[in-house]
């Protein structure tokens, strides 16, 4: 399990948005761009502005097009030059196409029909509202060169041991064996020395007989009793401790088949827990999302931003994990379609009550209105999911004793709440007072 981890340190990269502090090279590109578009479109009154183009592109076109990657529609970098060089199509054609591609296709235009067929008759939205200026802004944006990849310095870290628990055990074991060997050695040395002494007829003087400590101890009955009790108690303590942790898996943190990070999804990007664990609202189980739910976002998100990478996990590592997701659902990212070859992801189950206990999520999440974090801990900070709570009976009972039932806006509870609060003489009922301690509620 030891592996080299690489971290990427990106030099502050120059963002396209910051036009005011353009580097000389980019200034040159920018200027030549402006000249280029002026020469291409003599009718144009104003200069084309790739910055405005970018925001227009993101708002209108990015749902289907990216600059360098086929999505629902073709990649659009250098589209204008490509079309004029390969197909002899000019700006007028582009204007007509973008404003209403269906009309161009209907008019029988050869290239329009060809590309329409190539994309299996996917319809491009019509944009009659875009002005000539808007379109040239967008095209100026698509004519920009790709930003040079940020210069990355790769530093390799010393492998860190992830097996702290195990290695401690090993050290302890080794120490115990060492001591045993030492004792054995001493015993053997003693024995051979004695044999030598016998052979050389050296008299070893036995110590003068004194009442040995051991005998004195055996005679003192009180001391004997006290130690016996001490030993019994302490072993009882350890036995009890041992039995109490049987079946309690607090802190269990298995390695999952895909390194899926709750920190990145639920924390950094603020995705609601129920977006993925959608059955928590309505059923016993919270459920693990099926992979089509992942693909709602990951059709578009095929890599992580460089800023997502950390010391411990590099961008390559994260991108590889997204690739695993694609392999599992059978998504061909280059072709943008499903191959039909799937292989289910075998997530390792973490929380699991024994079969004789009944727990229902919707009762706690929808009815009681509890936050997931009360029971599952700071999930939005977990890079790797682990079991936060002990899930013992005492844990359930404690909370039922302390937590008030949420009766507000719940017509179902009006009558019973009135009757019970009269019975117990309290304003607010706890879950326990409503029957949350009855064995049959949790045990079938």
């Amino acid at each position: 399990m030891k592996k080299l981890r690489q971290s990427l340190e990106t030099t502050p990269n120059v963002d396209m948005k910051q036009v005011n502090n353009l580097q000389p090279l980019q200034k040159l590109i920018f200027l030549s761009l402006v000249f280029f578009s002026i020469f291409c479109t003599p009718l144009q009154a104003q200069e084309a502005d790739p910055t405005k183009g970018k925001s227009l592109f993101n708002a209108n076109c990015a749902a289907c097009h990216q600059l360098d990657k086929k999505m629902t529609g073709p990649a659009l970098r250098y589209v204008e030059t490509r079309l004029s060089e390969d197909e002899g199509l000019d700006r007028d054609w582009l204007n007509a196409w973008i404003r209403n591609s269906a009309a161009v296709i209907k008019s029988g235009d050869a290239y329009a029909n060809k590309i329409y067929k190539e994309y299996n008759g996917a319809a491009m939205t019509a944009f009659p509202q875009l002005s000539d200026q808007d379109i040239s802004n967008i095209l100026a944006y698509t004519a920009q060169d790709k930003a040079a990849p940020a210069v990355a310095t790769v530093t390799t870290q010393a492998p860190t041991s992830t097996e702290g628990g195990l290695s401690k055990d090993i050290i302890l074991g080794a120490l115990a064996i060492l001591f045993a060997l030492l004792a054995l050695g001493l015993f053997l040395v003693n024995k051979t020395l004695r044999r030598f002494a016998e052979a050389n007829e050296v008299e070893i003087q036995e110590a003068v007989k004194r009442p040995s400590l051991w005998k004195a101890f055996l005679k003192n009955q009180f001391l004997l009793l006290a130690t016996a009790i001490f030993f019994l108690l302490s072993s009882a303590y350890f036995v009890y401790g041992y039995f109490m942790q049987v079946g309690v898996d607090q802190g269990y943190e298995p390695i999952q088949p895909i390194h899926y990070s709750h920190k990145i999804h639920a924390g950094d990007n603020g995705i609601d827990c129920k977006y993925c664990h959608s059955s928590a609202r309505v059923s016993k189980h919270s459920g693990i999302p099926s992979l089509n739910v992942c693909m709602n976002c990951h059709k578009s998100i095929y890599e992580v931003a460089p800023s997502t990478a950390t010391e411990e996990y590099s961008k390559e590592f994260y991108d590889g994990e997204i690739q695993k997701l694609y392999d599992a659902v059978g998504w061909d990212d280059a072709e943008q379609k499903y191959t039909g070859k799937t292989k289910p992801v075998k997530w390792v189950r973490i929380h699991n009550l024994p079969d004789f206990a009944y727990f229902n999520h919707s009762q706690h999440v929808s009815v009681a209105g509890l936050e997931c974090q009360t029971c599952h801990g700071p999930v939005e900070e977990m890079e790797i999911m682990y079991q936060y709570s002990p899930l013992t009976m005492g844990w359930c009972i404690n909370c039922h004793r302390e937590t008030n039932v949420k009766v507000k806006d719940n017509g179902y509870y009006e009558k019973i709440h009135e009757a019970l609060s009269k019975k117990y003489g309290v304003e607010q009922l706890t879950a326990a007072q409503m029957g949350g301690l009855e064995c049959g509620k949790c045990h079938y």
Binding site: C64, P354, D355
Partner: protein, 150 residues
Amino acid sequence: MYEPVGYEAYGEYEVFPNSQEALLPVEGTIARGYSLYDYDNTNEGYEAALKSLKSPLEVSEIDPKRGKELYDIYCGICHGNKGAGQGTLVKREKILGVPSYADRAITTGSIYHVIYYGKNSMGSYANLLNEEERWQVTAYVEALRSELIK
């Protein structure tokens, strides 16, 4: 009793294809409480839904509070809680091209159709929301849209 005799949710058992307990409904069946959706996942189906599909909910059955709750969980992350296309993922530039509802000529029918099948890079939400919930969300999207247009 610690290890259940019955099949547990998400378990791995040999009787199932691929040993996978989580299965799709049998082709051609409809779960209790659902009804048949008659429009195809094609451009024509979209046009037909846009024109003729209407909500089965009475006005009195529309619950904006629940609609908002569901919308904020499932749609707000991209479309923004106001529907202007500025959700968290868009602001962080993870997903682009999410339109404002005001910019699209959408109707009750087309919204439901898009929730059911998805559209281009937006996925389907049919398995996360049940039929009634989908109509609640549809109604809420319409309300947001009329807010935006105002």
